[in-house]
Amino acid sequence: MIKVSHVSKSFSHGKNAVNDLSFEVQPGETLVLLGTSGCGKTTTLRMINRLLIPDTGDIFIGDKNINTETPETLRRSMGYVLQNTGLFPHYTVLENIAVVPQLLGWDKTRIHSRALAILEKLRLPPATYGDVYPQQLSGGQQQRVGLARALAADPPILLMDEPFGALDPLTRISVRKEFKLLDELNSKTIILVTHDVEEAFELGNRICIMNEGRIQQLGSATELLFNPANDFVRHFLDKQRLELELKSLRLRDIWPYLDSAGGSTGTALPPDTSCWDTLEHLTGNKAGSILDGQNKHLDGNILITAINAYKKTVSQYGHA
């Protein structure tokens, strides 16, 4: 869906540069660009909607080089969400949401019904929130309006630049949860920029770790965790390693390493449950899991042993 090919960009001030960057994003996939500030992740994002022009290299949407369209047409086909929302303070919530449909020349009734529908979906009842100005909303609500505005014209692609960065930690977690559950986003191809490792692992189908303008590693959560391409990636994730590992691994992943003795008497957890959630459930509860007709008993020790066994195998053979 999106293909970035050998793209480089440098600035006179020396920071935020990007060096020979190549990656592809599949339709419907969420790719997270993860890295510290100045690593070039935002630069990469801004080149995709032509807010910046690469020095060399090409970017394609579908099969089309983005240079073949005017920047305005290109941008109207992509949702764009910014850290500080960038909502227009002189427009009401509904007017803010209507901006892109208006630029696309939709008729008024269509714009209105679409704006109402998207507000409903984001749990902002239009009767209460439609005619207020952004300043009157809380940070989390503003962020949701920003998302609604980006989704208003139902663009196939969504670019998100630190979308939850300005929120306090609690709000951030709840907005993120909502974000994951939003069916409006299921079919979208999303590129999301963040410096928050936890966020990256929670939202990304694949994660692209960047440093000093280069891709360090691009892969799934488990690939990054258990098969880091270099020391940078390993150290980058070290601080939250245990939590990330538990959250990334599912019962299905460690199934072969679970002690098969004895059936379970407690709740049967689905095989896609993460180890983190399983551990949480096990505090005070009995549990088991069933996969392919096999019923396995779970407790803390069994789980940790299985995870260690999984990690050993993966680091030896490169895959489970």
Binding site: N49, L51, P71, E72, T73, L74, R75, R76, Y80, L82, Q83, N84, T85, G86, L87, F88, P89, H90, Y91, T92, V99, V100, L103, Y133, R149, L159
Partner: protein
Amino acid sequence: MDTPETFIDFVRQQSGKLLEQTLTHTGLTFISVLIAVCIGVPAGILISRRKKLAGPVLGITGVLQTIPSIALLGFMIPLLGIGPKPAIVALFLYALLPVVRNTYTGILGVDPNITEAATGMGMNTRQLLLKVQLPLAMPVILAGIRTATVINVGVATLAAYIAAGGLGEFIFGGIALNNTNMMLAGAIPAALLAILFDWALSRLQRVNMRKARKIALVLPVILVLLSSFYLLPETYSSRLKAGFTPEFMGRKDGAVGLRNVYGLQLRTLVISDMIMYKAAYEKKLDVISGSSTDGRVKAFDLIVLKDDKHIFPPYYAAPVVRQAVLDKYPELAPALDQLSGTINDSIMTELNYRVDYLQQNPQQVARDFLVSAGLWQPARNGSKGNIRIGAKIFGDGYILANMYKMLIEGHTDLSATTKTGLGGTKIVFDALVNDQIDMYPEYTGTGLLVILQAPQTTVDSIIGDNRKVYDYVKKGFAEKYQVQWLQPIGFNNTYALMMRREQATRLHISSISDLATYVHHH
């Protein structure tokens, strides 16, 4: 002078004129602000996009702002003549800086997140400007327009100096005539206009965001409407155009007398005496109210129309000296009186011409004259005492003060110092009475009307006779102030109507009566 009793009386009597001046004033202010908005806002937008231009553009508009208003108006005369055109251009230049600067800072002040979001959503530069930048910069731009408007209400008073009308006519007339009511009748409405417009625009500035977009539409309409006030006057016209000073306009021995005694009905503009002569020379005006011995009469080849019905009081110049000084130094009076009878109107005009127009040193001019009249002697020792000679800021005074200094030093053992540039009559006379100076040259008419403020009946009975006026002031000054009038010098620096020599000859006009007849028939 029949000054009305109270301010209210004055306003009531002059209400028609006051309304006309207020409308003109409003029109002048807003027509220039309107042009400033039309040019300043696009300029501000341009420099917000091309930052390299910002420095020079803001610099130039800033420099324009620092030019003194009256000087800026002066610069406009050679380019655009007199009347509304130069006034509007000058006011426009003053209004430009606040409008350009506030547009520029307003647009740059828009949160970059918001402009980035707008661009990222696919707005082109025009949509970005109209939908985002201008609406968000509107409060700041309005603040600039507000500043420009208030500045212009103030500066527009000066438009009266170049015949563009407005409340300045009353203000400067009032100052010149020492008529407080007239001054206030111009100043109070001007202040009220400034407060009113400031308040109205501040209201616009504070309305909420939704209405901000409507303001952008309504404001131009309001500006155009207010500007159109300027087109209301200019109803009647004669073929000859007159330009009178604000002082002359209000005086009984000025425009009022011309109308009552001669029945003269001219299309009249109010104008500063600084530019009046030049305007006449450049055919912007046909008849002006000059001063008969002004050097520019000669410089611009104007002729003085004969005052055949004697409405202008005699303004014969003579030295006035404190009696105490005359008593102390008896040789002083004879020395000064040597000048009596030596200078007539045309000689004084010639001397003024050399100082004002040829830029010669007044000291040199004075010396040359004394030498040619055989009165010059080298200075003696000057050990006996010192005489302080004052003079008003006007032309005659400088030259006469220098002549007196030379006469005193050449013909007595006294020394003398000159203190020229003592403002108007009031300042120099106060200096004399309070022993700051010992003598200065004064005019009989001024002594009669301004200093002694003789009752109207007395004035009417003696005004036609030069000798009687002199005797009256001599007596009055001696009794009231212990100040002595010495012998008149000989010239009469009075008001006069003047025309270009060529035009007056062609139309066979040599007196004010001729002029009145001509105007009546054409």
